[in-house]
């Protein structure tokens, strides 16, 4: 009997220590930390189309640090920031990690190393740094550019008796064109606002045609006057477009990714505010509409005297964690991941507008060429300047504006309060 108790005690202690042991093991293996191995987290490296990009970047890095091994861990994007949040909270995690520009990285700069001293040479060659900067410091090297061109379907323009080569340049003309398109049996905009992303795209695509240049720059600089008539106009126009039936029906229950884009691709709507990289972009649309039928237009002028420009920022970029052993080595990996060769592969295979402005995109069709030609005069997107909290609120308020359960005045009041608090 005594022996049995003894054995069970041994068993208990054994089980308990085994449990603890395995827990701490997994903790340390995912933390990287040593200089002879760098762990990279992203949501891209698992995709076949990103394969050549990763290979090129690895080859470039191997030239500089042949003795350092790389481990790319592709996380599911849905849970990426949840997993990253847990890693940051515990102070252990990947050495290098992928971020979306804007709020997602700015909210987490406490866990990152400023890269300015390491990436100085790349500043000219690459565009889109601002989306990864906070308080004058840069925290990631941009890989792609993300922005919001207005795509249109030239075939539907022809069907509606409009000239596909000269889309509307003023809002009034645009509304007239939409009426013609409606007669031809299509909606004006494919809009998906289920996730609340529709309003973000709307704000950024049309913002430069609504806000004056001064207001625009102030907005990006953080001096946002939510009571100004032009800011209100952004939301007023959103509501009017919904009330006038310019959007597909059920916009609040239509997912932007990818139901709204599918409506555009299947020629049920003539315009869509899409993206430049990743999804919902020229490469996807080219496949369905063919490159000749896909156009990119500038925002039609709403406020007289404004000069519409393309809204874009750094899309995704790699950052270095504070807890990495040697930030220099990790920063070199970021530089390899943003080398011209690697980015050229990313542009060609994954269909992204890469941050490297020296890449030649003439093979990708007129839409991509138009986008790249607009980069020079482009400005940061308005919504990227807002905090994730305000964006989340704006998504819900945009749904309320479409359903008519909130007034424009109340909407900007709530958004202003949230923006000031954040």
């Amino acid at each position: 009997m005594k022996q049995r108790a003894l054995w069970s005690a041994v068993l208990v202690v054994g089980l308990a220590t085994a449990g603890c042991g395995s827990a701490s093991d997994t903790g340390s293996s995912s933390s990287g930390g040593s200089t002879d191995k760098l762990v990279v987290w992203d949501w891209k490296s698992g995709e076949p189309s990103a394969g050549p990009y990763i290979e090129k970047a690895k080859a470039d890095f191997a030239k500089k640090h042949p003795d350092v091994t790389l481990e790319f861990v592709a996380q599911p994007f849905d849970q990426y920031y949840t997993l990253l949040g847990a890693a940051i909270q515990s102070g252990k995690g990947p050495d290098v990690m992928l971020f979306n520009g804007g709020g997602q990285i700015r909210d987490r700069v406490d866990a990152l190393v400023p890269l300015d001293e390491y990436v100085a040479e790349d500043k000219q060659r690459l565009a889109g740094w601002d989306a990864f900067a906070k308080d004058g410091k840069t925290y990631a090297g941009p890989v792609t550019l993300q922005g919001h061109p207005i795509y249109y379907n030239k075939a539907l323009y022809e069907k509606a008796g409009l000239d596909p080569a000269s889309p509307a340049t003023t809002w009034d003309k645009f509304l007239a064109d939409c009426a013609a398109i409606a007669k031809a049996g299509a909606k004006c905009f494919a809009l998906g606002n289920k996730e609340g992303a529709g309003i973000q795209f709307w704000m950024s695509a049309l913002g430069s045609a609504i806000l004056t240049a001064q207001e625009y720059d102030d907005w990006i600089a953080g001096k946002r006057d939510w009571n100004s008539p032009n800011v209100k106009r952004i939301f007023q126009l959103w509501k009017e477009a919904g009330d006038a039936g310019l959007n597909n029906e059920g916009a609040n229950s239509t997912a932007m990714f990818n139901d709204a884009f599918a409506l555009f691709q299947s020629a049920k709507a003539a315009h869509v505010i899409g993206l430049m990289s990743d999804v919902g972009h020229w490469k996807d649309f080219n496949e369905f509409l063919t490159p000749d039928k896909l156009g990119v237009m500038s925002a039609p002028v709403v406020t007289a005297g404004t000069t519409p420009s393309l809204a874009y920022d750094g899309g995704i970029g790699y950052a270095v964690a504070k807890w990495t052993k040697d930030p220099k080595v990790a920063a070199d990996l970021v530089r390899s991941l943003t080398s011209t060769d690697a980015l050229n592969a990313f542009y060609a295979d994954a269909g992204a507008i890469a941050s490297d402005t020296t890449i030649d995109v003439s093979q990708a069709g007129p839409a991509a060429a138009t986008i790249v030609s607009q980069l020079k005069n482009g400005k940061p997107a308005l919504h990227v300047a807002l905090s994730s909290k305000t964006l989340d609120l704006m998504g819900r308020i945009a749904q309320q504006l479409l359903s008519g359960s909130i007034s424009v005045d109340e909407a900007v009041k709530q958004l202003g309060a949230s923006d000031q608090a954040g």
Binding site: M1, K2, R4, A5, S8, A9, L11, V12, L15, A16, G19, C20, Q79, Y81, T82, G85, Q89, D107, R108, D110, K194, E195, G196, N248, E249, G250, A251, N252, S253, T254, D259, S388, K389, D392, G395, R396, Q399, Q400, S403, S405
Partner: protein, 326 residues
Amino acid sequence: MPIGNAQPSVRPVPAGRTDGAPAGSAGRRRGAGPRPVRRGSRAERFAPYVLVAPAILIIVVLRLYPLLLGVNFSFTGDGERNGTTVGLDNYLELLDDPLFRTALSNVGLLVLLLPVAVAIPGLLATFIYLRVPGHRFYRSVYFFPAVLSPVIVGAIFNLLLAFDGPVNAGLEAAGISPVDWLGKPGVAMFVVVGVHIWATFGMALVVFLAGFATLDAALLDAARVDGASLPQVIRHVIIPGLSRTIAFVAVTTMVGMLTSMFGLLYVMTSGGPEGSTYLPEYYIWIQQGQMNRPALASAASTVLFVIMLVVGLLQVKLLRRAGGED
């Protein structure tokens, strides 16, 4: 009265096997425990503690300790105030957040909808038990949705309920104006709960059918001979006879609604439209994963834990009363 008296003498054995398994076995263990203590050596007296130690250790180390850490964490700040004690700030912020209040009121809505979620499998099981034509077919078909993952169910209903989807096409063909099922704040939550009930009622149905197996058929025959209508049979024979099963299904359905609707919400509405379909779980996920507010999420988790604790204790009480113990 005769029915009530007859129950306890017939029930305990099958009831112990179907519904009351944990309570029954716990009772037996308690009864058997003390006996060896009186007779055995010290080692033997020690043995039970050693044997339960692994389970207790796992619960303490992997459940209770993290729980305490989480509660403790909820009193610290986020972002710039990371790590500093902020007292009840997070809880005050929760109270102030209309989104969290919506999430809590949706929990209340789930409690209110519980009778419906129990009645549907109950009624369908009754029809199967009463052998309506095709009852064998229905028995297997009703269980089918229970084996589908919530993500797949959500995707299916997303397609069906899309504004330009087949359900609205059917309505339009019938001359009724289409409804934006997942885009109207007043409708969406009911739709999601409805889909959840559709997806999970199969399990409750099986429990009900097991309960029917213990129902005395002679009582039904007697009621029929006395000329009772179907509603009267249900009201006076089936419901009293199945009270324990009903209580058990109510408890498991409630737990299911509170803990496993995340997948459906995530796929079908993403908490929208206008934030109307938020549940505490979804709120916690958004705050932690999207807003980078882990401490606020911990506070919300603590609130959810307290709610679950209260609901759970009430339900245990309900189960005990229905089971006739104490």
